[in-house]
Subunit: 340 residues, 2 copies
């Protein structure tokens, strides 16, 4: 089953079931007005949505055209956005670029930051920012899951059983603001502005053999200004899978239905070292910071600039037959007009 939230002028949009090929959708407001409402009663509501999804596939439901640019993020706002950093390779590179050793326990103790979740961007909304120079605007291509209620102290098995939906995310990051914030010791705040999610969230069964219960084994396609930038395999080098991340997040608190847990920037190693650009036959990168780190390690300084006004990132995932699974996040950086 594939679900999306269409813009209708309200804060939470309207829930639709989307056809597997993303061409059509069917309003399901009579079953649940919003995705959060569906998640609040998933056991009761999901079977009804699944029946509609079946009907859409066999042509037994009234449908309308589905346009990705009319979608909000599946949850336009959420009660919890916990973003991991499960591709530890990425973290090790960050440290290496600044000449620091990564603590050994980073390979065994997951890193998660608490994100803000009251103002997600739509998948085709601009990344509107007041400043494109000192902010150091970057994308981070990631996979994320939405969970049902998870009790405090849940085991990894319980966490696995609570995964309801899978989607993609662009965890927009302001690299220029990160060092100052991290030096203050309280984590990210201004340096992690609104994130955007894929037009469609899918139940794990839609992923078929690409879902093993803990991670998605498909390449994450990141294009930058129309050129292939990243093709990293999301199923490779993910040191902590989703059940592990969820259990970590739930160690001292329950997670409420609709909580989103992210993978962190998808990143592949190459022969134990950093990967090569797509143009050189490598898997490329899911954020600009990573290529800059490699440039720094190799040449002493970064040369790829962060995103400037007018730059566009596209994040998508295709199945082994080449069909888009979640639709595409596609965002252009624009000057923020406070008066607008």
């Amino acid at each position: 089953m594939k679900l999306a939230t269409l813009k209708d002028g309200s804060r939470d949009g309207r829930l639709v079931v989307v056809s597997r090929d993303l061409a059509h959708c069917c309003d399901v407001g009579h079953i649940a007005p919003t995705l959060q409402a569906a998640l609040d009663n998933w056991a009761r509501i999901a079977p009804h949505l699944a029946l509609v999804a079946e009907g859409v596939e066999i042509g037994a439901q009234p449908v309308e055209r589905f346009h990705e640019h009319e979608a909000m993020s599946p949850l336009p706002r959420a009660y919890q956005w916990a973003d991991g950093s499960a591709y530890v390779n990425h973290v090790e590179l960050v440290r290496k670029a600044r000449g620091a050793q990564m603590p050994e326990r980073f390979w065994t103790d997951p890193l998660i930051y608490q994100g803000g979740s009251d103002s997600f961007l739509g998948p085709r909304d601009p990344i509107a920012m007041a400043d494109d120079e000192s902010f150091g605007i970057d994308m981070e291509g990631e996979v994320a899951v939405i969970v049902d209620d998870v009790p405090m102290g849940a085991s990894e098995a319980e966490a696995r059983a609570a995964i309801r939906l899978v989607m993609l995310v662009n965890d927009v990051s302001l690299r220029g603001l990160i060092p100052g914030e991290l030096a203050k010791g309280f984590g990210f705040f201004q340096s992690k502005p609104s994130s955007a999610f894929s037009p469609v969230a899918v139940t794990p069964d839609e992923l078929g053999a690409a879902w093993d219960g803990g991670k998605v084994s498909l390449p994450l396609c990141v294009d930058y200004n129309g050129e292939p930038f990243g093709r990293a395999e999301a199923g490779r080098d993910m040191t902590f899978d989703f059940p592990r991340l969820i259990a970590h997040a739930a160690r001292t608190r329950p997670l409420g239905a609709g909580a989103i847990v992210g993978s962190g920037t998808v990143s592949n190693k190459l022969d134990g070292g950093p990967g090569k650009p797509v143009s050189q036959g490598g898997a490329g990168y899911s954020c600009i910071a990573e290529i800059r780190m490699i440039e720094t390690i190799e040449h002493g300084a970064p040369k790829t600039p962060f995103m400037r006004f007018g730059d566009t990132v596209r994040i998508e995932m295709k199945d082994r037959d080449g069909h888009s699974v979640f639709g595409a996040i596609e965002q252009t950086v624009e000057p923020y007009d406070k008066g607008a």
Copy 2:
């Protein structure tokens, strides 16, 4: 106007208007089913709620008894919980206790951490934890505001105009988990479990002269196991007022209606140095960590233990006539039973 959310078995409870003396309340489900629904359309809905509140005061509305222990947090779950550390005195003491200098810019650049908001505790709910020794369970008595929509880059004047409600919070902290998490560089996650808010949230006008548009000038009463522990004046030593904290939080993102912004632990200086315990005629403390820091500075080691199973904290604020403004948060630490 005073508002509360009563437990009714649902995730978001039911909204009631509470009488000024906290004795009675009136269901307003016909106006807005939940507090979030009211905040989503505050300009339209608040006047209707205010009429009910007037009716409650003059006996022109059907009322029921209001029992604080039947209340959930005013927002049982929220889309944003941004907690500042506005009483910089408290931060300076933390650093001093571990022999570190606080950077000078902490007096001019607000500190805010991103909190989790999907599973707030009710004001009388236990603090249920799996471990009361290594976790180092502590309370943090704070003031918080709920805002309307705040645009990205809002000025302090715009932030001030967006404050809709004021309440108290117990920002439960696990001191034993903080050093390990902060060393990882991503801020708090496991060390900041579910927070609890006061039974009642009030519009700023209810505070009369104690509200200057930016802070609450009343003492925060923190009792620990039935003894006075803190009587710090919330209007004193608050280096950054709420408009400043809100503007800081909104620098690179908008805040959605219903976003909660906290003050951080209320803390008063005494003659430029740390305050004295209430038993010695001082203003006392709003968290255990602070008295432990003073013990460390004075005697080389802390002697007051953190909260153990069975310990109770009560957080309340009374107006100059001795009437409770928000009702009381009163929580006992209990062993968490995962099976329950």
